[in-house]
């Protein structure tokens, strides 16, 4: 029972992290109709920036703050220099161009930081386990991720749903041409949204960094998961992305935790231990395939054209 609670919390934590990544992706996708494969690279850059700045300043918090600023800036520069010239092109051009960016970022990181991974050590106050219910200790850092992500998600919701800029973002997601025609500076809005998405990806990356190592290519697997999430949730929909992210996070975590035991009933132990991780990874793609077959536009489509 306690194990289940712990795994559910892990699932929630992973799901929220995925949401941070998927939120930026779905906004960029929904508003600019731009497929950004390099989103995972921004996630990676966030982690590298954080561990570098934390090592320089000797403070986890300052390092994280600087890294957030740096990814925001990187996102804006990237949009300004290259990606804005690709809006309105074919999706395939986006895929090709941002695929090139992934190659570039991976090797740039290898050149600057070297092929070996980095670590982002936690301050001591984040390493003590917290007793949340009697008998259940949970790592305080994972709890911190949950709190921070929920806070960011709430802020994002408030900004998107309750402010003027959020109104413009939502309007952009359902009809780009129209808000342009109404006199909104759509280029500036695009740059802003892209920067915001980059910062969210960076935040996800640097929060994940202390749990896993900071390494090249860390953004690629998780990027595909983020794509799965926005496709399940419906492109351009923050609410859809949130629900789908929690769902995918749960499936992934619970699958990893319980699939080996379940499979042991039907397979030999050795075969089960190889097949189980594969099975739980597959479940997510299976879910996406089912959603797309039943509802080809995702669960909560934002734009109805």
């Amino acid at each position: 029972m306690l194990l289940l609670v712990e795994q559910l919390l892990n699932g929630l934590q992973f799901g929220l992290l995925l949401f941070l990544l998927a939120a930026g992706l779905t906004l960029v996708f929904g508003i600019m109709d731009f497929v950004n494969l390099a989103h995972g690279s921004l996630y990676m850059m966030g982690a590298y920036f954080a561990s570098t700045f934390a090592a320089w300043t000797g403070s986890f918090i300052i390092g994280v703050a600087l890294a957030l600023g740096a990814t925001l800036l990187l996102g804006i520069v990237l949009e300004f220099v290259a990606l804005r010239h690709l809006y309105g092109r074919d999706h395939l051009d986006h895929v090709l161009a941002t695929f090139g960016l992934i190659l570039f970022f991976n090797d740039a990181v290898r050149l600057i930081w070297g092929p070996a991974g980095l670590a982002l050590p936690l301050p001591t106050w984040l390493t003590v386990p917290v007793q949340i219910v009697p008998g259940l200790f949970y790592p305080s850092y994972r709890l911190a991720i949950i709190v921070v992500s929920l806070f960011v998600a709430a802020m994002l919701y408030l900004v998107v749903m309750r402010t003027r800029i959020g109104m413009l973002i939502r309007a952009g997601a359902s009809n780009r041409e129209m808000i342009g025609a109404l006199g909104i500076n759509i280029k500036l809005l695009f740059t802003l949204v892209f920067g915001l998405g980059a910062a969210l990806a960076g935040l996800a990356g640097l929060m994940q960094a202390p749990i896993l190592t900071v390494q090249i290519g860390m953004g690629e697997n998780i990027l595909i998961l983020a794509f799965v999430i926005i496709v399940i949730g419906g492109i351009g929909s923050i609410r859809g992305a949130f629900l789908a992210a929690i769902f995918v996070g749960m499936i992934d975590t619970l699958g990893r935790a319980y699939a080996p035991d379940l499979l042991r009933h039907i397979l030999s132990p050795a075969a089960a231990s190889t097949a189980a991780p594969a099975l739980s990874s597959m479940l997510i793609y299976l879910l996406m395939a089912i959603v797309l077959v039943v509802r080809p536009e995702g669960l909560f489509p934002a734009s109805k054209r």
Binding site: H91, V95, F99, F104, I224, A275, A278, P296
Partner: protein, 315 residues
């Protein structure tokens, strides 16, 4: 048909001649490396040609095409592992398995359009990738070594480097010929019609998705053949053969060469792999140059190399 001497045709003839005479050059100069490299190139070119059939002519942006490489490769690898060495069994099984996979995922994926299609094909390819990683008996993540190449009786010896190269080249030319025949047939015209205006084709009375699906299956089968060749070439098959970045590579090859042109993907593959090979010899950080290059090609080079050649007409 009159032969017009434009830049495109000259390049195509040069490439065909070059590919056909390559083993001769290799044996005269003693440069075995170039033959190994071009065997790989020819195999990937076949995969790119098959992707071009659905992407360029059919308008189906599949981001999971590398799955067929894996299925073809694993069919050969698994049968060899289980002691069935005859190529007359291995290769038809590889083709059949790829066709079957394409039929299943095609009939599901074709319900979606646009970017959702890109994503659902990606999802199916990732599923295939994870299934392969889960095959404990066949090496799981570590992959499967093929100890003995397919046996075609006395017909052809695949372990001979030059013979294997010509088998691959023969498959590539057969693939291009097949695509050429398809594109110019009634069936191919319908598929291209569906690409440019689906509703109109439906209204005229064509069952658009049925044509699309057949096209999808043909392309998948062709790529399965490339997978069987690729596994034979490296004597090894592992899940990474169908990782999503591999599908990305294939897309890059097609777009680089020029989508919807018969010979473009071959040129795209040659340029991509030769560039990758030569850049990686100059510097360890070849992708640092390759990445921005791709970006520039997308930004400024519409229509790929083939489109550029097409604009270089005489006069």
């Amino acid at each position: 048909m009159t032969q017009s001497l434009n830049a495109r045709n000259v390049v195509v003839v040069l490439v065909i001649t070059g590919l056909a005479l390559l083993p001769l050059y290799s044996s005269i100069s003693g440069n075995i490396f170039v033959l190994t490299l071009f065997t790989r190139i020819v195999i990937f070119a076949l995969a790119a040609v098959s992707l071009n059939l659905i992407m360029g002519y059919g308008g189906m942006m599949s981001f999971g095409h590398a799955a067929y490489l894996g299925i073809g490769g694993y069919a050969v690898g698994i049968l060899a592992f289980e002691g069935i060495g005859s190529g007359f069994i291995q290769w038809p099984v590889a083709l059949l398995a790829s066709a079957l996979f394409a039929l299943v995922i095609g009939s599901l994926s074709l319900r979606t359009r646009g970017v959702y299609f890109i994503m659902i094909t990606l999802a199916f390819a990732q599923m295939a990738y994870y299934i392969a990683s889960g095959l404990a008996r066949y090496g799981g993540d570590d992959g499967l070594t093929i100890y003995k190449r397919s046996d075609f009786g006395g017909l052809v010896n695949l372990s001979n480097r030059v013979q294997f190269y010509y088998v691959c080249l023969g498959c590539l030319f057969a693939g291009i010929y097949l695509v050429w025949r398809i594109v110019n047939s009634r069936f191919g015209l319908v598929v291209q019609g569906v690409r440019s205006n689906e509703q109109r084709m439906q209204a005229i009375g064509f069952h658009a998705n049925r044509y699309r699906l057949v096209c999808f299956v043909i392309a998948g089968t062709m790529c399965g053949l490339a997978g069987a060749l690729l596994a034979t070439n490296t004597d090894f098959v592992s899940p990474s053969i169908m990782y999503w970045t591999r599908s990305g590579d294939l897309m890059v090859m097609v777009i680089l060469g020029g989508m919807g042109s018969l010979f473009g993907p071959v040129i795209g593959t040659i340029v991509f792999l030769v560039l990758e090979e030569s850049l990686s010899q100059i510097t360890e950080f070849w992708a640092l140059i390759m990445g921005p290059l791709l970006l520039l090609i997308v930004l400024f080079g519409r229509g790929g190399i083939d489109g550029w050649l097409g604009r270089l007409r005489r006069g």
